[in-house]
Amino acid sequence: VVTDSADRIGMKETTDGQDLEQASLEELVEFSRNTLVSSRVLQRAAKSVLYRARWQRAGFNPEGIKDLHYFRRAPLTAESDLVRACHPSPVKSYACSDVQMWFRVTGRGGATWWMPCGKQDIMRMLGLCRRMIRVVGISDSDLALVLSQPAPTVSDSLPYFLGYAHKLQSGARMEIVPLSLMLLLHRPAWAAFFLKRQPTILVATPTDALQLADILRKNMGGQSQTESSTTSQTAGEATSTSQTRKAERRGPLERLRLALLFGSGIGQDIQKVAQEYGVETFQMQGATDCLLLNVECQMHKGVHIWLDTCIAEILPVGETAERRTGADLQSQAVFLHEAKTGTRGELVVTTFGEALPLVRYRTGETVEVLSNERCRCGLSHPRVRFL
């Protein structure tokens, strides 16, 4: 699919993969396998200081890549590898192609690393935004309040990616109010504007969404804290799969109809957001570190992992707990498309990034494979539950 935007910037390749959105699992696996080889992702990655020495030590030669079998010899990449490569600052050979934007990622342990983003990466993000908008069911008449963290985070750019995903592809439209929650905390009276404009969609981390509710309650005479759920739920259940979570509508955002929630380790808080706002929630994963926008569809049967944008693997639970990166560990990972339903483990992804492909990157997210079957929404991209 060559979109308007692609035409405008003279690109010839697919920018939003709408054709692959509907592809069968076999076609997706074939596509990702071909992309891995033909786009020379690993050879490009080998230019980066992030991989070069480690791969040499492990005896992994990216030139030998012919299939997914050989691919599994590549060492896993942990967050600590990225942090180390960026300390005290990323050297020139960190990125493996021209960089357009830099994003700072804060890891689970609080350490930070930098994610370079090339032109193709931005175009892919725009494409994934368009896909997300379709899958979640955002329409032309929607107004999104996007709560972001200040630059240089990915979330700071998210409202503009969402806006330009539409702007560059004429026709569809979504109105966006970008808002740094940090500023709103200092200027709570600003909320008066979006209380008047009434957003229909909230895009935020669950923490920010809950904080917003708190601000609205304190400053706008919103209703008191909602009661806790009458049914106790585990973290797993909270993130899942539970059906459309439309609860009793609460609070002053009267037209809000859905919340799109991103960030890592957000499982438990999603249900709180659903309860707080009384809206349908969608989980979006991978946005802030690997520049992937895996998202739940309207069936709410797990988060679809877009197999045309990455190769996904699961590192079984026992191995995850050990947190080792030896050769024995890397061979334990199973491809997501081959994993059995119910398999639990750490999600490992290999992105087809331009400026810095993440190769066998351990996301730190524990997931459960829900299904590799075609979803009722029509998509074949595998679904997982973030635990």
């Binding site: 990323p90 200040p150 630059a151 750019s157 806006g163 979504m174 109105e175 109010v177 200027r187």
Partner: protein, 491 residues
């Protein structure tokens, strides 16, 4: 300095053609009839008694009442937003800093963003930043302030025209964490508030000393030792680490900071003028003889200072504005803006910015668009660059002084300490306690203005001086209004 143009025909349009060009755009865009449909204008215009059809050329615009910042703000408080908008295809909303009360929220459609993108690119060509791949360090204020959006719109604009620059963005709170990346990536361009750039430069030698010491402790190499000794005995400036070529400075006047910035950064600074209400990048060219105001995307007027004075001195007087391309050089006055915007066109919007016209003839760069110098604010905003607040806030804080005395009268003088804005507060008080106790109380009350406190703590502005005086030499307008802000000689 070979001239380069992005849109040569528009940028070099003969001065005498501006009026015809704008008039054609006035008609094509159906500006007046669209605006008439907006609740922002309708009732005021009806009261003024003119028919949209009577506006045929730009001279006819003089019949149209001015729109003020408070008028814009009040409209959003009074009317349904959809009744104000002239297009329902809004893409983004941004807001002003809200220093005079609640912020003004400004809608942008894709068409409005196109104007922004075009002027961003035009500015890059004008400066000569279109020829090589450049690395940018953008110090942006977070959304919903527009500089965050503008940085992104610039990136998208570059992508669409085939430029491939590298961008590192950081909000003011994240500068420290982003500097290591910036020093590694060797940016060519710095885009920032001048006061923020000056503050970074000021703190850099100390930060460099800490960093070189840390590195030496981490790895005891000769190189690290040399760096540490250099930092300690010679001092390391930004220019010793990062070889910046260009600086794009906006948000406040560059003039007081220009030399400091050149000394510390070794870059060529360019002043940019834009506002949230109309995101158009007006920038100086390489001859640094004023900011070019793009007259093909707006109709610009100036209310000359004598007219402003007359307005202040004569109740009910409506000042007359002149078209920017027709005023004599040296004219100083308030900038009035008419845009052709889609979401919410501004018609004769009084920006409260005081400009001086420095050139209307063809510039040496070849462009014909008039050149101005931005002087200061005309309204009740205390604009100290990144630090902005309203005198209403000062009034409220001083009104809360009660333990050691009461504030009877006050005046604020804006001066500069080196290049930094410095506030001098003159207080006439009725004391009920010790003088020092009163001064302390006043200071603590003034620091309730959070943006001022943070600005002082972070070194963006100098600490305010507070003086108790027996009498305040009041400055008043002829209509009797007290001027609380007085601009000192060092400003």
């Amino acid at each position: 300095l070979a001239a380069r143009f992005r849109q040569q025909e528009l940028e070099c349009m003969p001065r005498l053609q501006f009026a015809a060009f704008q008039e054609e755009k006035l008609q094509q865009s159906r500006l007046i009839s669209r605006a008439y449909d907006s609740a922002l204008y309708r009732s005021t215009w009806q009261k003024a008694g003119f028919a949209p059809a009577s506006i045929q050329n730009r001279a006819d615009l003089r019949q149209v009442p001015y729109l003020t910042g408070s008028g814009l703000r009040d409209a959003f408080a009074t009317y349904a937003i959809n009744d104000i908008l002239t297009s329902q295809r809004v893409r983004f909303w941004f807001c002003t800093s809200g220093t005079t009360g609640s912020p003004k929220w400004i809608p942008y459609t894709d068409g409005d963003l196109d104007v922004c993108e075009q002027t961003i690119l035009r500015s890059m060509w004008l400066i000569g930043m279109d020829q090589t791949r450049l690395t940018w360090l953008n110090l942006v204020t977070p959304a919903p302030f527009i500089s965050d959006g503008a940085a992104h719109f610039g990136i998208f604009a570059e992508m669409l025209c085939g430029l491939q620059n590298e961008h590192i963005a950081a909000s003011p709170t994240e500068v420290a964490t982003s500097l290591p990346l910036a020093s590694a990536r060797k940016p060519d361009v710095l885009s920032a508030f001048p006061s923020v750039a000056a503050r970074i430069a000021e703190g850099f030698p100390e930060a460099a000393l800490v960093e070189t010491r840390r590195r030496f402790q981490e790895k005891k190499s000769l190189a690290n030792l040399t760096a540490m000794l250099l930092a300690r005995y010679k001092g390391i400036r930004v220019r010793d680490i990062i070889k910046l070529r260009y600086g794009i400075f906006s948000g406040e006047s560059l003039a007081p900071y220009r030399q400091t910035i050149i000394d510390h950064y070794g870059l060529e600074p360019y002043e940019l003028y834009a506002c949230t209400e109309f995101l158009c990048f007006n920038v100086e060219c390489r001859y640094h003889c004023g900011i070019h105001i793009w007259l093909d995307v707006c109709i610009a007027e100036i209310i000359p200072q004598p007219e402003l004075d007359k307005e202040e001195n004569t109740a009910g007087y409506i000042p007359q504005a002149l078209f920017l391309d027709e005023v004599p050089i040296g004219t100083m006055g308030e900038y009035v803006l008419t845009t052709f915007g889609e979401a919410l066109p501004l018609v004769r919007y009084r920006t409260s910015d005081l400009l001086e016209v420095v050139g209307t003839e063809r510039c040496r760069c070849g462009r014909t668009h008039p050149r101005v110098r931005v002087m200061r604010r005309l309204d009740d905003v205390v604009n100290m660059g990144l630090v902005r607040f309203s005198i209403l806030e000062v009034e409220a804080c001083l009104g809360r002084v009660s333990h050691a005395g009461k504030v009877v009268n006050w005046q604020m003088r804006l001066e500069r300490e080196s290049c930094k804005p410095k506030l001098m507060l003159l207080i006439k008080a009725a004391r009920s306690g010790a003088e020092q106790a009163l001064l302390d109380e006043i200071r603590s009350r003034v620091f309730e203005i959070e943006v001022l406190r943070v600005g002082c703590e972070s070194g963006i502005v100098a600490n305010p001086d507070i003086k108790l005086v027996d009498e305040i030499e009041e400055v008043r307008t002829a209509t009797g209004k007290v001027r609380r802000i007085v601009y000192g000689k060092t400003w």
